[in-house]
């Protein structure tokens, strides 16, 4: 028996900000879930199961928060499960939910991811003082900056490319009412003049720390037929993992990322992603990850990703727009960041992305990664239902 086609019929986000002091964690997730239900014109009673994701519990200090969120998410009397795959969790959470529909376990599933980073300090949560171990010498950006330098060395990319990504994403964010950073006076010169934190990464090329949640309602063909607005159809979805560290690990272009993308394209029948995909929401927490992932995901040959960025291909009006929403560089509630990528890809093919809509987007890729570039999750969504 073939899989049940999966449709996205409801999407909801909170306005992402540095600190939502007016709501509890329950209030935060409720806001996103309520908006997703409203978009789908469904009620709590229409939901068969809830799949929730977030990054490590130390980010809020509430152990297993899903336990107390059952009321807020209308999960009483229904299956509720929680997913965790570090920064990629928003993507893998959506895929676990989608698989429940595809396998015909449930007809309509609410999936949600959140982070309320203002309740703790993510850097503290990720660098506990483990006895006997050498203290981490460099902070979050310091973990990634050497990989960026390795990318530059490998490809000969000029050091100007990172600033172009940040300038583009921050301008895109101005068109997205839910984005955290709205830097109305942003200029390329300002990005280039921002302090160099972890050379080669500048301040303006790093992501913010946000409070926010994102939710989606996923459903089967019957549910999609009742949808008041055009659904987005999932044509492929995959997850891959690899160890954080191993001899031969390629941090610049991890094998797990390549394999994950190849699986998604195979499921979706994509042979030339650069031509066949209209828009991409990828997980870019530091600007240079755009050209790096363009190569890893097969949009450019190895060593050529930066040329797409430099020539404007990834601009909102370019030939392959990337991070139309402003991306992780403009909004980063860590646990939700992956689901925002998935949801923004779906918004594009539903034609519901508002001011940051790519005209005529029919197929879009949502991408997330996490841990030390060790967890990958991606999906490809389309305006058309799958033919199977």
């Amino acid at each position: 028996m073939s899989k049940e086609p999966v449709a996205v019929v409801g999407i909801g986000q909170t306005k992402h900000v540095a600190a939502r002091r007016d709501v509890s964690i329950a209030g935060l997730v409720r806001e996103a879930a309520g908006r997703a239900l409203e978009d789908a014109e469904l009620t709590w009673a229409d939901i068969d199961a809830v799949v929730i994701g977030k990054a490590p519990d130390f980010f809020e200090g509430v152990m297993m928060p899903e336990l107390y969120l059952a009321d807020a998410l209308g999960a009483v009397g229904k299956p509720m499960l929680r997913v965790h795959t570090a920064g990629s969790v928003g993507g893998s959470t959506a895929l676990v939910a989608a698989n429940l529909v595809a396998a015909r376990v449930h007809g309509t599933v609410l999936t949600l991811a959140f982070e309320k980073q203002s309740e703790s300090n993510a850097m503290w949560g990720l660098s506990l003082p483990i006895p006997f171990q050498q203290p981490l010498l460099a902070g979050a950006g310091g973990f990634f900056a050497p990989h960026v330098r390795a990318y530059m060395r490998r490809t000969g990319a000029p050091d100007t490319v990172g600033a172009l990504v940040a300038y583009k994403d921050r301008r895109n964010a101005l068109k997205n009412p839910y984005a955290h950073l709205h830097e109305h006076d942003i200029t390329l010169e300002k990005v280039q003049a921002s302090p160099m934190l972890w050379d080669p990464i500048r301040y303006s090329e790093t992501c913010p720390s946000s409070d926010g949640a994102c939710a989606m309602v996923l459903t089967d063909r019957r549910g999609a037929a009742r949808s008041p607005r055009p659904p987005a159809w999932m044509h492929g979805g995959a997850m891959r993992s690899e160890p954080t560290l191993f001899a031969g690990k390629d941090f610049v272009s991890p094998q797990a990322g390549k394999d994950c993308a190849a699986d998604v394209y195979r499921q979706a029948g994509i042979t030339d992603p650069r031509r066949e995909i209209d828009a991409v929401e990828m997980y870019v927490p530091f600007s240079w990850y755009e050209p790096m992932w363009l190569e890893n995901l097969g949009f450019a040959e190895e060593g050529e990703g930066w040329k797409l960025t430099e020539s404007g291909v990834t601009e909102l009006d370019g030939d392959l727009p990337v991070n139309m929403s402003g991306g992780v560089l403009s909004t980063n509630p860590i646990g939700a960041s992956g689901m925002i990528r998935f949801a923004e890809a779906a918004l594009q093919v539903r034609g519901q992305a508002g001011e940051h809509q790519v005209d005529g987007a029919r197929r879009a890729l949502g991408h997330a990664y996490g841990g030390g570039s060790q967890f990958f999750s991606m999906w490809l969504v389309s305006a058309e239902p799958p033919t199977t």
Partner: protein, 313 residues
């Protein structure tokens, strides 16, 4: 085999919790010696209150005051109170259904011994002398004579409502790095850097984890590597980390020690930060009492060719 190391690991953080409207009213109420519950769609009163109806999932905001007296619905005796618990002498953990409430609240009961506690017993709140808008504003419960105090019918509206709490969380672990890392740390004390070789793929892991992450097999064969190595990639750190006493800027580098099959991380010194480059040959610099090399400095050898380390970034 060397002794396996062990050490305490304390994880603690003052989480700043925002309350939302219902918990805000509940905790502010405690500060004012008022206990508030919330009314559900089916007419029950939940104490402590929640924001969403457990039956219908609807938002609920109908606050009602309940009495500071109630009944123990079940209990467990705590023989040895721990740090941070409500009382420092043995006490009972109790679930108390306050008069007017349909659900029970978890708290501590101050009683002389387990024989003095029973399900169904009448108890009342003992308020803390200093109250700040937190669950600890109830110091504990104490035995009552069966009389019911009357709630004042408070509306749940307060001046200067609490909007957040600081939740001090602390976890006490005993951490052991295990056999392989204990061996590695033991060798470091002799200023030797010792990894382990995978019996299957022959790769040398430094620091060793006791298993090869690629082959999934245990590693045991010890291999001394370095002390010299190659800077494979790096960044220049320009912001001072809170817990580190290192002057910025400094170079944080990935260093592939000679004989190792992946890079470890270290600081580069003995050379101006802006002259560090990929391929630079370095060696460890030890300081008295340091477990790890303090930093790595140039050896003066010619730079390594990119081809020799490009797989070790």
């Amino acid at each position: 085999m060397p002794d396996v190391l062990k050490a305490p690991l304390v994880v603690e953080f003052p989480f700043t919790r925002s309350l939302g409207p219902v918990q805000s009213a509940f905790l502010t109420g405690l500060r004012e010696r008022v206990v508030l519950g919330v009314r559900t769609g089916d007419g029950r009163t939940l104490v402590p209150p929640v924001e969403y109806d457990p039956v219908t999932a609807e938002e609920i905001r109908d606050l009602v005051e309940v009495a500071p007296t109630g009944t123990v619905t079940t209990w467990a005796w705590n023989h040895e109170p721990r740090r941070g618990q409500p009382l420092d002498t043995p006490f009972a953990w109790v679930l108390v259904k306050l008069d007017g409430a349909d659900t029970a609240l978890l708290h501590a009961l101050d009683a002389p011994g387990p024989d003095a506690v029973h399900t169904g017993m009448s108890v009342r709140i003992r308020w803390a002398e200093e109250r700040s808008g937190a669950i600890t504003d109830i110091a504990c419960f104490e035995p009552n004579d069966g009389t019911t105090a009357q709630p004042s019918g408070h509306s749940g509206e307060f001046e200067d409502q609490a909007t957040g709490i600081v939740a001090e969380a602390r976890l006490d672990y005993v951490y052991s790095p295990g056999r392989a890392q204990s061996g590695y740390i033991g060798a470091l004390s002799e200023r030797r850097i010792v990894g382990e070789r995978c019996p299957s793929c022959r790769k040398v892991y430094v620091p060793p984890r006791g298993a090869c992450p690629t082959c999934g097999v245990a590693t045991a064969e010890q291999v001394e590597v370095g002390p010299r190595g190659t800077v494979t990639t790096f960044c220049i750190v320009n912001i001072k980390a809170k817990n580190l006493d290192i002057e910025v800027p400094y170079v944080y580098a990935h260093i592939a020690l000679d004989g190792a099959d992946l890079a470890l991380h270290g600081r580069i010194g003995g050379i101006p930060y802006d002259q560090v480059r990929m391929g630079l040959r370095v060696e460890p610099v030890w300081t008295e009492g340091g477990r790890y090399p303090d930093h790595y400095r140039p050896t003066g050898e010619p730079d390594a060719d990119y081809e020799t380390y490009k797989e070790l970034l």
